[in-house]
Each structure stands twice: as structure tokens, then as C-alpha cells.
Symmetry: C2
Subunit: 219 residues, 2 copies
DNA sequence: CTGTATTTTTGCAGTCTCTGCACTTTTGCG
DNA sequence: CGCAAAAGTGCAGAGACTGCAAAAATACAG
């Protein structure tokens, strides 16, 4: 099984003093991720072994697993952070179009995970080349799916108490599916134009518009 | 990596004479699947080992992997068969609503994979209990995503040559996302009411309708 | 600076999944 | 029956991953 157990990844309390410990952790993470990506890009994911990565980045395999949990961990990068409970509450009570609202909080959570831009670029390249990795990533997302579904459900309960259990359930699943499905498309466009956050919302609206046109039978 | 390599699974040429060989294969498959599911339901997927399954079903581990490719193979069941090239051609030139058409051929391919009803039931139960398996299943589907995207693309090229490369690409991704996303919802409803094929199309239309309403801002 | 407590890294041994290869058994068929 | 093809099996080995305890690094007084 082990869908991915990215390990603790302790986050510092606030921002105060990074401290040597923390700085080392970050440095090491970067080093390993970079090594892993370089190797994977050069030889292909299947050929690369954890031992190779460890030798290249000079950490023990045991430490590698402490950090990343799985062989692919260093390639996939940190899992998107869970939205804060305030953000969730805001979503639950927001009254905009539900898909749009959900998409927005997901996008925020997604781009909140900072990462070395160079590493980020390599990752993109690798993902394009190896669709299997994309799938793995989706799997990790799927784990969040339940959580996401839960907050959608909450919103529906609050705003549409008239729905039956089944209706609400179906609608929840559909909303989550649409959003998670459209997400890659939007993030692709976003990455093509390194615009600002406002631009992101425009993209989101445009995508939703496209979806509407797709599901609406031609006039 | 090995997202799933379900192994050959040679299909007989037609229907003529099953032959002892074929009959044995089927028998063994059933036996192993059943054993795997029983063990997984009783002890949990993570606890069960391939060796346990093999001992319970009296095949060598090597044979197990020849049949199922991965530990989870016997739990997941056969991968949905790829739609026939005639079906694909039909889809490419069909002029109905694209999501509906795609959904229909996917549904056909999906239900074409027959399986022992008892095994089927156990599988459903297990999937409910272990969401990680669902994710694995999604991963296998994601592998088909590329293939699916390709035929959607073909249809767009034929029916909407006016679209730019990028537009077509975006639209393709969105269509595939929507369909694959909505699929579980529909199959859930379908399984709840073991209706006939015609009923399936009704469900599909209803789901698409719901999607439209979801993405359409409230009046 | 020094000594101590705490956290992190590491080595090691072991389990489990999965693969290639060679060998045996089973099945198909003339 | 006898031979050829196909399928099942055993074995050895690589690679992913885990628990545990020793070792090293870091924090933190005094």
C-alpha cells in the first residue's frame, strides 16, 4: 500500500529563528531533491534507485526514507498543504459559484508550498516525460479528495439544506471531480504565464466557462 | 513505478471451444482472487502478503505474479478493457454531445469485463473499506487517460478543425477530466439499481445535467 | 566553553514485492 | 502414444521499505 507517507516534515513554530537544525534540514532536502530529479531526468525514473540518489546527494538511505517516505517522494515534492481552517470556513460560507470558490482555495493551498524554482522547473519537465509520476501525484491528491469532499459537503449542508442525502452526495462528488479534474489544466496555463494571483482567478473563471460550454449541448 | 502490469491475460480467439487450458486459467484466477479478497477483508490489505494469498489458493508466488503482476492485482480485478477500434471510430464521428458520447463508450468498455458476481461484491466491500485501493484503481485508470485523451483529440480534430492547438488541448483535458470524474458517480448509481443498459444512458444524461447546473451560476 | 539533554542521522538486519531464467509439468494434437 | 507448445514453478537476486539501537549533531544551560 503505502500511498505516500512523506514523513513528519516538522514545520517550525512560526518564523522567528530558523536555527541551524532547520537550515540543515532545508539544505539537505534541496540537495536530495535536486539529485533525485537530475538522476531521474537523465536515466529515467525506473532506472534510478534510492541508493543512487543517496550516493549522489550524500545522505544515508535510511535518512532518505525518513525525509521522503517513498522512492518517489523526492521526485514528487511536498504534498500540497491542507488549507487553513479559516480558509475552509470562509469557503463554507462564501456565496459565489461553488466550483469557482473551491478552485480558488485549492489554488491558494497549492501555491503556498514554496520550493526552489529550479527544482520546480525540473519537476515539471520530469512530469511531462513520465506520466506515471503524474498518476502517483493524482493518487496523493486522491487522498485529499476525502477531505475536500468533506468541506464541500459542509457547504452544501449549510447553503442547501433542502438536498437529500443522496443528492448532496452526488453533487459533492461531482463538484470535487470537476475541480480536481480542471485543476491541472488551469495550473498548466498558470505556469505558462507567470502572472499574478488576480490573473489566476481569471483563468479559473475561463476554465469554468469552457466546462459549461462543453457540457451544454450545442444550440 | 510499476503502476500495474496485469500480465498478458491472453484472451481466447473467439468463443468456440474454451479448452482445458482456458478453463484451468479461469478456475485458478477465481480461486486466487477469492482467496486474496477474503484475506484482505479479514486482515486488511497491508497485513496480507502475496505468500499468504498463494498458500491459501495453492499456487506458486511466481504464478501469482504471472497472473496479476502486482500484489494488488488480484484485489483490483481485471483492468477495464480498451474499447474496440470500431467503437472508437464510431465515437470519433458521432455527433452527439461529446461528454455523453465518451461516457457511453467508457461505460460499455467498463461493463464488458465480466467477473464472478460474488467476487464482484467482495471487491465493492473492500474498496469501501480501503480507500487506498480506490486510489490505486484510479491510477490504473489514469494510465488509460492518455489513450482516452487521444481519441477525444481525434474527434475534436475531425469535428472542430477551427480550434487552435492549445484550445483543443485544453478542451481535451477538460472533457476527459469531466468524464473520468463523473464516472465513479454514475457507476455508483448504476450499481445501486441493477438496471439495464438503457437505464445507464439515462443516468449519464442526468449526471451531465447536474454538472451543467453546478457550473452554471445561479440565476 | 563545557557538559548534558535532546533531536537527527545512520548502520544493520530483516521482510516483502517483483523479475529473469532455467526447469518441470500440463495440455494440445497428429 | 509421442512430440511440440504453453503454462506453472523454484531459485536466486535486486530493490523498496521498516524497526531498532548506536552514533553524531545540535541546543541549551551553567
Amino acid at each position: 500500500m503505502h500511498i505516500a507517507s512523506p514523513a513528519p516534515r516538522a514545520s517550525s513554530t512560526g518564523e522567528a529563528a530558523p536555527g541551524l537544525r532547520e537550515r540543515n534540514r532545508v539544505r539537505r532536502t534541496r540537495r536530495v531533491e535536486r539529485a533525485a530529479l537530475e538522476l531521474a531526468l537523465e536515466h529515467g525514473v525506473d532506472v534510478v534507485t534510492v541508493d543512487m540518489i543517496c550516493e549522489a546527494s550524500d545522505v544515508s538511505p535510511r535518512t532518505y526514507f525518513n525525509y521522503f517516505g517513498t522512492k518517489e517522494g523526492a521526485l514528487l515534492g511536498p504534498a500540497p498543504s491542507t488549507p487553513s481552517s479559516e480558509a475552509v470556513d470562509e469557503f463554507v460560507h462564501a456565496r459565489g459559484p461553488i466550483v469557482e470558490d473551491l478552485m480558488i482555495i485549492m489554488a491558494r493551498a497549492f501555491f503556498a508550498t514554496e520550493s526552489d524554482p529550479e527544482v520546480f522547473a525540473m519537476r515539471r519537465l520530469l512530469f511531462e516525460r513520465e506520466p506515471a509520476l503524474q498518476s502517483l501525484r493524482l493518487m496523493r491528491l486522491a487522498d485529499k479528495r476525502q477531505a475536500t469532499a468533506a468541506i464541500v459537503r459542509r457547504r452544501l449542508a449549510v447553503q442547501h439544506p433542502e438536498l437529500t442525502e443522496d443528492e448532496a452526495s452526488d453533487q459533492t462528488h461531482l463538484v470535487v471531480s470537476i475541480v480536481m479534474g480542471a485543476f491541472p489544466v488551469i495550473s498548466r496555463q498558470w505556469l505558462a504565464h507567470p502572472g499574478d494571483a488576480a490573473h489566476a482567478e481569471t483563468l479559473i473563471r475561463a476554465a469554468i466557462d469552457k466546462i459549461r460550454r462543453i457540457v451544454t449541448p450545442d444550440a
